[in-house]
Symmetry: D2
Subunit: 141 residues, 4 copies
């Protein structure tokens, strides 16, 4: 799959830089690919994200999932509109080793309703294991 | 309700300082109360946690919920044992205004099984509105 | 707690009889209590609901949870309005023995928004153990 | 994709007939395809499953999802072992019209751990629309 248009990726990088809370921006998420309804982010596994058990903290994965889905919705809206997360359910299948370079966070819009949007986020280790799986609902305001 | 024993609160504060990933520690969570199977954390609403829409970012609430539940489990185990979050489902009922002093994060163990632990987390604004509600499963390793 | 008004209970029993799919009606759910935003149903544990493992099947608990929440919403709306379940998350904490007389299904509205409604359902055995816990979102159409 | 071996399909049909609670059996679920870690069931949309709003009741979809996942796990275990549903989260994306012939229920094992199993269930209308999406965790006993 190609990476998507440079314009889309730039729009999403700007949204990351301008709209996301500074604490979430500190995750260092980067837009790797962007298509209509689908966005792939890369989450660098830095020491600040690793807990005492030596693996990437689940909180970072949930935060990345939520952020990725907002961007995936933007690719369908053609830009930002006010929206809110209604619910996010995350299952943690396999730890991401703290020694990983990054985790891959792939968000997909499953259904774009008039007011409700449904999506799914797959999070993989950089060796291709499925680490976490999230489903989510957003509401346009 | 009393705050719980100072020894319990100290043990949990130490776990926050020593085991939690630095990025999560940056949330500035404080243990306000601790009882067997129940922990109340306070999450300061600082500008770094507020997104472009002017409200506390949902990612901070999910991270606080997960952290609070680990501490609530510790009050039942009498200390830390290796465990992992199996799943966490969060519903976002009402935004926490960015001008709030803090959010209250109350985690309760609903069932302590031999290997699986079920819990619930209620997150309130400092004016007493229910902002978010999470349910979660942990596995002892 | 008192049982609530007979008029409310009658309205909800009629909704159960008239609107619910026949297959769900076969559960034999009865309205035990009804208050504004809260409904208690009783689910008889009959042999048709018990699976090969000798316990009440989880499918019956999920179906009862969803049904109970529709009725709890009706107590807030003062009657039926078209609505749809957006999502339902159920955790199964402890099996309900097949020899039980019934399970208790308590649905509570947590937040009544203009278009979205959030709720929680607690399911107990007839000996008072928490068997299942569900959270849910509904949308008014 | 081929339908899978007749032996697998027969084993799963027998499990449906012998282990599932009679009330769930009344759904009339049929095994359409079976592969290692993946099972496709067909849920006939009969009048008994349609509620007052004229669409397939969500309770039937949740029950089918849970049942399909048990069968998908069996294809990996090579038969039945005692297991329990830990949690099931279902999102309802689009109603299944009551006039449909059937809904398709595709369950996939996402991760087979030693004690915990993670899965996903996609439910489509017979015209190919995604109607519901579930994620679930099972525990081997």
């Amino acid at each position: 799959m190609d990476k998507g248009t440079a314009a889309d990726i730039e729009m999403l990088e700007e949204a990351l830089a301008g709209m996301v809370a500074p604490w979430v921006r500190a995750l260092g998420l980067r837009v790797a690919e962007a298509h209509a309804g689908q966005v792939l982010l890369r989450l660098p596994v830095t020491p600040s994200l690793v807990h005492g058990g030596g693996v990437l903290c689940g909180q970072a994965l949930m935060a990345a999932a939520d952020t990725a889905m907002v961007l995936a919705v933007m690719t369908r809206l053609g830009g930002f509109k006010p929206m809110t997360t209604v619910q996010l359910q995350t299952s943690f299948l396999k730890p991401v080793p703290g020694s990983s370079a990054h985790a891959e966070v792939l968000a997909r819009v499953l259904r774009m309703g008039k007011s409700l949007i449904f999506g799914e986020i797959l999070m993989h280790t950089d060796t291709g294991d499925l680490a976490a799986h999230a489903t989510t609902t957003y509401a346009l305001l």
